[in-house]
């Protein structure tokens, strides 16, 4: 009070720029910390899961037998044998899924980008692809069961598993193709048209090859995802402890089914087989992810 009356240098109004108040500073710091913590919260389970798998699954996988033998004729407590049958099944089922899903998915992608463009059917298709993306894997399994096994009368087989994985894989291929076709420069199409090349040949010879590496990458990533799907395999597949080379007929194991089968085995061997299969699955998925990255690095579309 007294200083205010004597201080003649005091400006009539407060300064235009004021420092950030303590409360705002604290709020800002708290928010920054929380946001960074949220990221850590996501990293913890990832590391924890991978560590658990590595810790418990490494030892069984290191046996040479693991990669070359099946569990044929072994009793639940025999800590020998391997996952050869399941690895074979996983790879073959994934490959047949890829063989079936890629043509369909790529054609739908071509339709949406090159032909459909703005038509009502294209809009409905896009919506349906979104819905297909969200279809739970168990429902895909039930659908294949209802159609393939119940109505058409085929038996449970590795191929039936592939069919249900197909439903999960197709939307992935469509999305990837769509995205990749959209970033193919229009100049390429125009140059091709200008030379008198028909539209379909332009797509087949110019557009698709340009987008190919991206599509392959997407397919690899998609395969890595569907390989670990267990729910459809439980419904339309059946576990077999021995190797079955024929994907179309008879029970065929895959890694998730092996895990599921051995999960119920209380012996040490069961524990080792379950976590060993988990480790193998993670390794195969990592391999596919790695391949996908390499392919996309090697041959990205140059903009």
């Amino acid at each position: 009070m007294t200083t205010a009356t004597t201080d003649l240098h005091r400006p009539a109004t407060g300064p235009a720029f004021q420092g950030v108040g303590l409360g705002r500073k604290v709020k800002n710091a708290v928010a920054t910390t929380l946001v960074a913590l949220a990221f850590l919260v996501a990293v913890v389970p990832l590391v924890w899961v991978l560590w658990s798998v590595l810790e418990k699954g490494l030892q069984p996988v290191l046996h040479a037998d693991w990669w070359t033998h099946s569990l044929y004729g072994l009793r639940p407590y025999d800590d020998r044998g391997g996952a050869y049958h399941a690895i074979y099944g996983t790879v073959v089922q994934a490959l047949s899924t890829a063989v079936l899903s890629v043509p369909v998915g790529v054609m739908v992608g071509v339709y949406l980008v090159e032909y459909g463009a703005g038509t009502r059917l294209a809009r409905v298709t896009t919506f349906m692809v979104d819905i297909l993306t969200g279809v739970p894997s168990i429902v895909a399994g039930l659908f294949v069961y209802a159609l393939w096994i119940s109505i058409l009368g085929f038996g449970r087989s590795g191929f039936a598993v592939s069919l249900s994985l197909l439903l999960l894989m197709i939307p992935v291929v469509i999305r990837t193709t769509e995205e990749m076709l959209r970033i193919v420069p229009n100049e390429l199409r125009e140059a091709s048209y200008a030379l008198g090349v028909p539209k379909w040949k332009t797509i087949v010879k110019i557009v698709l090859p340009t987008a190919m590496s991206g599509i392959v990458t997407g397919v690899m990533l998609g395969l890595a995802r569907v390989m670990g799907e267990t729910a459809p395999a439980l419904i339309v597949g059946a576990y077999a402890s021995s190797i079955n080379l024929n994907v179309f007929d008879g029970n065929q194991a895959n890694l998730p089914l092996l895990m599921n089968d051995q999960f119920a085995n209380p012996e040490t061997a069961g524990f080792n087989r379950t976590w060993g299969a988990a480790m193998t699955l993670v390794l195969i998925i990592m391999l596919f992810n790695l391949l996908a990255t390499v392919i996309s690095r090697l041959s990205a579309i140059k903009k």
């Binding site: 946001v35 463009a117 059917l121 039930l142 659908f143 087949v204 419904i235």
Partner: protein
């Protein structure tokens, strides 16, 4: 899996070169709609035709074009038919079982389908576990995903944002059976003391009261919810991240120029802009959680007792019940009972996903 593609798509559409001068039916014009019609010429007009005296404006229709176009349109239509077929065939298989059902399908909690001559199945209890696990997962995952998405888009150093995002996406690459195995063997036992503490101190709240399975077994809604939360984190994060990234630079710079701290900037520009996207991302996460099967199949302890509406209930979700019953699929009626449950799941996820997409679509129009 491709839940992130929803946003990827809009991101890549942005990058589409030559949008404005797209030729007939070429990409870029696809969302515009007006640029092409089914009558668009299939290919360029060759000089050969004009030489033969045909009018120059008549497009050339080559057989190759017709076949290829037909295949492409057929493939597009196939997807639509496929979704319809899923609904139709599930319904076809479910109806006989529903007719033979001796209890109310939606109002009963009994599940006794081993004898096809006296089918008794109702999804009431399954519905509770399904909803409880999904909602708990969503409640846990939503704030964390929001934090991660904000961290990746506006807080993390530019150079590290990409690898960090990759790390979060890796969570989506881990198969659900491995999450299930980890959940029941590793995480569950760790959560037991927490669960016991909650039960001891908050037991008067019905949600934390003794459930229908033993708490020390860890196979309850709590463990399942936590594992599900981890599984849907990458889904919610991926989509929200894409939306937050698209916050207009002018808004951000405007807020900063007015003296906002980073948090105030985020609160006043990024979050209001990305809210719809975030909500729809969470719906996608919910859809994923509702349909998750194997993780819950391994985690939840089976029980015949009615749920006590507690976090420490066991039982099964709709999806895990179907997986549990897979061995029983030896006659049409029993299988039909499970298929009826699957149909409910399909309808539920269809509705949730459609709603999520609708929110995003509306946001896109208004933006």
């Amino acid at each position: 899996m491709s839940d992130s593609t929803l946003a990827d798509r809009s991101a890549s559409a942005k990058e589409t070169p030559g949008r404005a001068r797209a030729p007939h039916g070429a990409p870029g014009s696809s969302r515009g709609g007006a640029a092409s019609s089914p009558d668009t010429p299939e290919g360029p007009i060759s000089t050969a035709n004009t030489a033969q005296g045909e009018p120059a404006s008549t497009p050339v229709r080559r057989p190759g074009d017709r076949v290829f176009r037909g295949t492409a349109v057929g493939a597009g239509a196939f997807i639509v038919v496929l979704i319809a077929a899923i609904g139709l065939f599930l319904l076809l298989q479910a109806v006989p079982a529903l007719r033979a059902n001796q209890v109310g399908f939606l109002t009963s909690g009994v599940w006794n389908t081993t004898d096809p001559n006296s089918l008794q199945f109702g999804i009431l209890h399954l519905l509770w576990v399904t909803v409880a696990t999904s909602v708990l997962a969503l409640a846990l995952a939503m704030p964390v995903s929001l934090g991660i998405a904000l961290f990746l888009t506006h807080y993390a150093p530019r150079r590290l944002a990409r690898p960090f995002a990759y790390v979060v996406d890796l969570l989506a690459a881990v198969p659900s059976i491995i999450f299930g195995l980890w959940g029941i063997k590793v995480l569950g036992p760790t959560l037991v003391p927490v669960a016991e503490w909650l039960n001891r101190n908050l037991g008067f709240v019905p949600l934390f009261a003794q459930g229908n399975v033993s708490i020390s077994g860890a196979g309850n809604v709590l463990t399942a919810g936590v594992v599900l939360a981890v599984m849907i984190l990458p889904v919610i994060t991926a989509v929200s991240r894409e939306v937050f990234e698209r916050t207009p630079k002018e808004h951000i710079e405007g807020a900063l120029a007015l003296g906002a701290t980073k948090w105030e900037m985020v609160r006043t520009t990024v979050i209001p802009f990305g809210k719809a996207g975030y909500v729809s991302a969470s719906m996608l996460g919910l859809g994923r959680a509702l349909g998750e099967t194997v993780a819950l199949y391994l985690i939840l302890s089976g029980t015949g007792a009615a749920p006590k509406l507690s976090f420490f209930d066991g039982g099964a979700t709709i999806a895990s019940k179907i997986a549990l019953g897979a061995g029983e699929f030896n006659n049409e009626l029993t299988a039909g009972a499970y298929i009826a449950a699957g149909l409910v799941l399909f309808a539920l996820t269809f509705a949730v996903n459609a709603l999520a997409r609708a929110i995003v679509a509306r946001k896109k129009v208004s933006a």
